[in-house]
């Protein structure tokens, strides 16, 4: 005999309650899925953005600010270190390259970043979508998320975008031409205009040599990005340049601290969602159990018309399983939507490209809930089946 028509009939009977229960399961599952996926997306995106920056050296001061300003282009007035540090680093046999990064100006709401074409292109690994890299002081490359076109010229503004909201502080007499557009990298640098660092220093009345390649600014530099030759060199340089004049930091140090915080938030959200899931599961089982006395009559009738004990137990069990399955599937869909929408919002806010995806590991809590629910409801259905005739006798 097919138990499904009975199951469906029972579901119809208590439609509202069942939908509510499935929705509760779905919400709890969606929260845990969405949070897990978003946290991973944020970690991956921020780690990718730091990929080109192995070691950053700056004037003695906040290491976190040095990373935020250099890697993520958060506007801040970094202190300057003596320009001789650059020459010292380039002379070190353990240094593959050392390139300055100078921030502080903006145009049309986009940060202007002064660096070398070598660093901006990650030594040829990051391509331009069109045009060419800058070759002179009056040329610039626009990031993929800027609105500037090749051939357009602009006058840089002194200070960040927000510094120029009320009164613009233009560097008068400066015209810079866009000669290339960078391909998308999924990092805050997409929203920047990249120029030779010598040009930014010259604007701020720092004396620069004639040949930009070997120019040494007299005043100083806010940040130098270093690629160490070996892991040993990386730790040695970090150690040597942590002194009274300069500081040195791996962006990974700052990020790992951030990830610990993120991980704590995720753990909290998962506990809350997990508690929610357990509560809903308990409610579903209790509901099943409680409704039995009401349904004892129909169970007896089922037996009376010749249904086997297994059949009766199966109808009870399938009812609960249906709720769990519908809830889990809705939760999967909701979790994916939540992650997708959250990734969109965060991408805009942070200038990082977040790609939300669900891995098999994310589905574990869902699988656990289903498994636990399946076993528990089988037990409850069995108890109910055993108790039902007795109850029916009493009430009848």
């Amino acid at each position: 005999m097919n138990p499904f028509p009975f199951v469906v009939a029972e579901w119809r009977h208590a439609r509202g309650v069942l939908i509510a229960m499935a929705l509760l399961i779905a919400i709890a599952s969606a929260i845990s899925l969405g949070v897990t996926s978003l946290e991973r997306a944020l970690r991956t995106a921020s780690a990718n953005a730091a990929g080109r920056f192995d070691l950053i050296i700056g004037a003695a001061g906040s290491q976190t600010q040095l990373v935020l300003t250099t890697v993520y282009l958060q506007p801040a007035a970094l202190k300057l270190m003596p320009a001789t540090v650059l020459a010292q680093l380039r002379a070190d046999p353990g240094v593959v390259f050392a390139e300055p990064v100078v921030t502080g100006d903006s145009y049309a709401g986009f940060s202007i970043v002064g660096t070398s074409a070598a660093l901006a292109s990650d030594h040829g690994r990051l391509l331009l979508s069109s045009g060419r890299w800058f070759a002179g002081m009056q040329e610039a490359v626009a990031g993929s998320a800027t609105t500037l076109k090749i051939g357009e010229s602009y006058t840089p503004l002194h200070g960040s975008a927000s510094d120029n909201l009320i009164e613009a502080h233009a560097h008068d007499g400066q015209r810079v031409v866009i000669v290339g557009r960078a391909a998308a990298t999924g990092t805050p640098w997409d929203k920047a205009i990249i120029v030779p660092y010598e040009a930014v220093l010259a604007l701020h009345e720092v004396k620069v040599g004639v040949a930009p390649k070997h120019a040494l600014p007299a005043l100083g530099l806010p940040a130098i990005v270093v690629k160490p030759r070996s892991i040993m060199d990386a730790y040695r340089l970090r150690n040597v340049y942590r002194n009274s004049e300069t500081t040195a930091v791996f962006p990974a140090e700052t990020l790992t601290r951030l990830y610990q915080t993120l991980g704590d938030v995720r753990a909290l959200a998962l506990w809350i969602a997990g508690a929610g899931q357990s509560l809903v599961l308990a409610a579903v089982l209790l509901g099943l159990y409680a409704s039995l006395s009401a349904r004892a009559q129909s169970l007896i009738s089922l037996r009376a018309i010749g249904a086997g004990p297994l059949f009766v137990w199966l109808t009870l069990w399938l009812q609960v399983l249906g709720i769990l399955l519908v809830g889990a599937l809705l939760g999967l869909l909701g979790g994916w939507l939540l992650a997708f929408a959250g990734a969109g919002v965060l991408s805009n806010r942070l200038g990082l490209l977040l790609t939300a995806e669900l891995t098999r590991e994310d589905l574990l809590p869902l699988v656990w809930m289903l498994a636990a629910g399946t076993v528990a409801s089988a037990g409850v259905a069995w108890r109910a089946y055993v108790k039902a005739p007795a109850q029916a006798m009493r009430s009848g």
Binding site: R229, I231, V240, A252, T256, A372, G379
Partner: protein, 147 residues
């Protein structure tokens, strides 16, 4: 009911726990015994270090600050990379480092943690494919335990 569910959860959790392969007993290494001589030309591995290459070893040390986020490796040092303001910036530091490649990439413990590492020892110069960094001494397929 609850018993059944709890038992089930427990049995489901067992495969999720990471377990170290107990195939062979690992040799215990010490930082002090890794090298036999330190000359101006560099350092020479001790004979035992060379003998143990390719074999499972245990080594205890301190986690250095992470060089790369979400990486599959970290650096183990003999002494903690200190954050104390009175420590000098010694240019020769650190001679005693071992690069540890873990089985699963991710964020590592707080740096400065004392950990015990079990994995397979590798000697010789090798360039990491992802980062381009050169290392001389590595422990691969490592399992990390906080001490």
């Amino acid at each position: 009911m609850t018993i059944e569910r709890r038992e089930f959860l427990l049995s489901a959790a067992i495969p999720l726990l990471t377990f170290a392969p107990f195939a062979k007993a690992a040799e215990s290494l010490k930082f002090a015994e890794l090298y036999k001589s330190r000359t101006v030309m560099g350092m020479a591995f001790a004979d035992r270090t060379l003998q143990l290459a390719g074999k499972p070893v245990d080594l205890a040390g301190y986690m250095a600050p992470p060089l790369k986020p979400e990486a599959n490796f970290f650096v183990l040092t003999r002494t903690p990379v200190s954050v104390c303001p009175f420590c000098d910036s010694d240019a020769d530091w650190p001679a005693d480092i071992v690069v540890v490649y873990v089985k699963k990439a991710g964020s590592f413990l707080q740096d400065g943690s004392a950990v015990s590492v079990s994995g397979v020892l590798q000697t010789g110069s090798k360039t990491d494919t992802d980062t381009g960094f050169v290392s001389q001494l590595r422990i691969i397929d490592a399992v990390v335990k906080r001490l």
